[in-house]
């Protein structure tokens, strides 16, 4: 046991004496969360709009005012003719052009109908879609208020944004960054630290020492469990106290699930290091095989349901996907373990599988 503790202490020295890495490991979650928490939102406001008003009468002026005072739009410029629309879009600032037909108020009075065209810059399709919808909504509302009493049978949808009323980006970044960083620290750093011993030749020294292989591995892993767990706490704490991301469910369950995920990632790291011999290969595998799926195929940013079916199957074998689901459920929806046993079980199965494979692959014989 004493030997073992000695070994663990050595590993801690390894980590603590590399200031730069340590700084990055603890600075990264803080900086990333701060940046993304404040920066990334999906709320659309102040989109630049250009207006081509062919009639410039009372009604179009009022409509323009309504559109601009909604908070979603600010006026970029007024256009003088149709040909200016193309160049305006090409400049890239204007997202929406509203065209009022000629003799607007007069036609509305006499014929009962007048024309408005809403043109969206759909080179960014989602923004265009949402903006066009906002604008037509505003115009419709105006119409209703103008005709108040005259338009019968109105359906009024009341929309409630459940779990995240402000559509804040933090709500998806806290779980996402946790999954990403815990994976980075646990899998990548562990695999690098073991392969480095192989590369430098010091692995032989360890293998001929009286320490048993299992002790070596566990000793290697413990410091990273501590680091990863601290990082998890930092992210959760910042999420809660800086950004007000609630933790609706049980904190203990949340931490326990994080530990489960860390163990899973660590066993993956051990697996990678047992099949590779150089840091560079370990790094490439970790980056390509871990980071990309963690960011893209896990539902972190893009919902899995929208992907093509083949990719969805692919996502099913990505452990981070389950962890992100778990975290979102506990933090935002306040779900208990009954809702999450399936995901937790899958993570546990992954862990056992990785450990079994790496035990089979781990060679104590010297090459």
């Amino acid at each position: 046991m004493k030997r073992f503790t000695g070994f663990v202490i050595k590993e801690f020295y390894h980590i603590f004496r590399d200031y730069r890495t340590l700084l990055i490991l603890f600075g990264m979650p803080a900086v990333q969360l701060l940046l993304f928490g404040y920066v990334v939102t999906n709320e659309i406001k102040d989109a630049k709009v250009a207006i081509y008003d062919q009639s410039k009468d009372e009604v179009t002026r009022k409509l323009t005012e309504k559109v601009l005072s909604s908070g979603y739009f600010i006026l970029e410029k007024n256009l003088g003719n149709y040909n200016q629309i193309g160049p305006t879009f090409r400049e890239g600032k204007t997202k929406l052009v509203i065209v009022f037909g000629s003799n607007f108020a007069e036609k509305l009075q006499r014929e009962g109908r007048a024309n408005i065209q809403i043109l969206g810059d759909a080179s960014d399709p989602n923004t265009a879609n949402i903006l066009v919808n906002y604008a037509s909504g505003i115009i419709n509302n105006y119409l209703i208020s103008m005709n108040s009493g005259q338009v019968p049978m109105r359906i009024i949808p009341e929309v409630r944004m459940q779990y995240n009323p402000g559509l804040k980006g933090v709500f998806m970044f806290v779980p996402g960054i946790m999954a990403m960083l815990l994976m980075l620290i646990s899998a990548l750093m562990t695999s690098l630290s073991i392969t480095r011993e192989k590369e430098l030749g010091t692995m032989e020294l360890l293998l001929v020492s009286p320490l048993r292989p299992i002790q070596i591995i566990i000793g290697k892993v413990i410091p990273y469990v501590v680091l990863a767990f601290l990082d998890a706490c930092i992210i959760l704490g910042m999420g809660k106290f800086v950004f007000g991301v609630p933790i609706e469910g049980s904190l203990i369950l949340l931490l326990a699930e994080s530990l489960l995920y860390i163990t899973m990632a660590l066993s993956l790291g051990i697996l990678i290091s047992s099949i590779t011999n150089s840091q560079q290969v370990a790094m490439t595998i970790s980056l390509m095989a871990l980071m990309l799926p963690t960011i893209l195929l896990s539902g972190f940013i893009f919902p899995v349901e929208n992907m093509p079916v083949i990719l969805q199957w692919f996502c099913q074998i990505m452990p981070p996907k389950y962890f992100i689901t778990i975290i979102k459920d506990i933090m935002l929806k306040g779900n208990g373990f009954i809702y999450l046993w399936k995901e937790s079980l899958i993570l546990a199965v992954f862990t056992v599988m990785f450990i079994l494979i790496s035990i089979r692959k781990f060679k104590i014989r010297l090459a």
Partner: protein, 372 residues
């Protein structure tokens, strides 16, 4: 000049004799384009809806079937209790709850207005915004149809009516892939350039071969130029390859001038390579260099406007984004490829990149010390 050529030759040999390199150059872009473009989509289809229809009138049924008939929505379950529906949402089985209260039709007819409730799972804000947009479109549509059904077709013309027609330019079908491909191409060039250059000098340091170079008469500028040019050529080649794949596989439009795309790319790649070299000169091991690169890459990429629009960021973040080279390049690529913007339209971004390239490469040269 000869010296530079020899260094370039050495670098090329080094790159191509590494067996990992060729697959990385050819396979990674393919995989990235295919997986990323398909995975990175906000295109919503089959939004799962839970319906609570307490009214059970013909109007409410028609509204439900309107949702059922839309390609965007899929009625996943029908229930009569809020609790049950909310439980389904908690489980993650449904994305939206449509609640039609008791007396919906009666109120519509008698009071001329009736409320319905739409509850959206908003954890992913972007999807929630779209779900809201789609559902309100359907409800509005249904409302019009209802009016005609009850009051006859004259009703719409008797009141004052504004005809709103909408039109989506450049991408009438709102195809999200068209939007993503130019951005992903930028990522492709960026990642390859960053990795190649970021790992390069630091590797020579770690192996110890940097000392051999330090004792030769090669000057700093020559050394850096010799290191940069091969990667510059490889990255430009990557871009051409990526454009070709994008054109063949996804049939993305390239409306603007190819020359303009490559001209901007040529400048942009210098920025990225300069960045990589800078990190490479400032770190001691590949592990450190990798971590630092990763740190900057994630921030640059997520703030680049690739996934979320820059305009919706707070002003200070938009200002901060001025030091984000990826943001400039993605903007240029999207504008030129999708809208056919010309040099005059992109000149601000372009000149920023030029200044950036000059600054960062000279900084990297200055930071690289031959004396240890």
């Amino acid at each position: 000049m000869n010296t530079i050529l020899f260094i370039i030759q050495k670098e090329f040999i080094q790159v191509f004799r590494n067996r990992m390199m060729l697959p990385i150059i050819f396979v990674v872009p393919l995989v990235q384009l295919i997986i990323l473009v398909n995975a990175a989509t906000f295109e919503m289809k089959n939004i799962k809806v839970s319906v609570i229809d307490l009214d059970l009138s013909s109007s409410s049924r028609k509204l439900v079937s309107k949702f059922q008939g839309s390609p965007f929505f899929m009625v996943k379950n029908v229930s009569f209790s809020d609790k049950e529906a909310e439980k389904e949402m908690k489980k993650g089985n449904v994305d939206m709850i449509l609640h039609i209260p008791y007396g919906f039709e009666r109120r519509l007819v008698k009071e001329n207005a009736a409320k319905i409730q739409v509850i959206v799972n908003a954890i992913n804000g972007a999807s929630a915004g779209l779900i809201d947009a789609y559902s309100s479109m359907i409800i509005l549509d249904f409302n019009r149809q209802l009016l005609v059904d009850f009051m006859g077709p004259d009703i719409l013309s008797s009141a004052q009516n504004i005809n709103v027609s909408s039109n989506y330019w450049y991408n009438p079908k709102l195809n999200y892939k068209t939007y993503m491909v130019p951005g992903i191409l930028c990522l492709l060039v960026t990642i390859i350039g960053f990795l190649l250059s970021g790992m390069n000098i630091v590797r020579e340091k770690e192996i110890g071969t940097i000392e051999q170079i330090n004792v030769t008469p090669i000057r700093k500028v020559q050394f850096i130029a010799g290191k940069l040019l091969p990667f510059w050529i490889i990255s430009l080649f990557e871009l051409a390859f990526g454009l070709l794949v994008g054109k063949l596989l996804f049939n993305i439009p390239i409306i603007g001038s190819l020359w303009l795309i490559f001209l901007s790319a040529a400048v942009y790649i210098f920025v990225i390579l300069g960045f990589g070299l800078l990190i490479s000169t400032m770190t001691n091991t590949q592990q450190q260099s990798m971590l630092v690169s990763f740190f900057f890459m994630v921030i640059f990429i997520l703030m680049s406007g690739l996934f979320t629009s820059i305009e919706s960021m707070p002003v200070w973040a938009q200002n901060l984004d001025r030091i984000n080279p990826i943001a400039y390049f993605i903007r240029i690529m999207r504008m030129v490829m999708l809208k056919g913007s010309d040099f005059h339209d992109i000149r601000d971004s372009f000149y920023s990149l030029v200044v950036y390239a000059l600054a960062i490469v000279s900084f990297a040269v200055w930071r690289y010390r031959k004396v240890t």
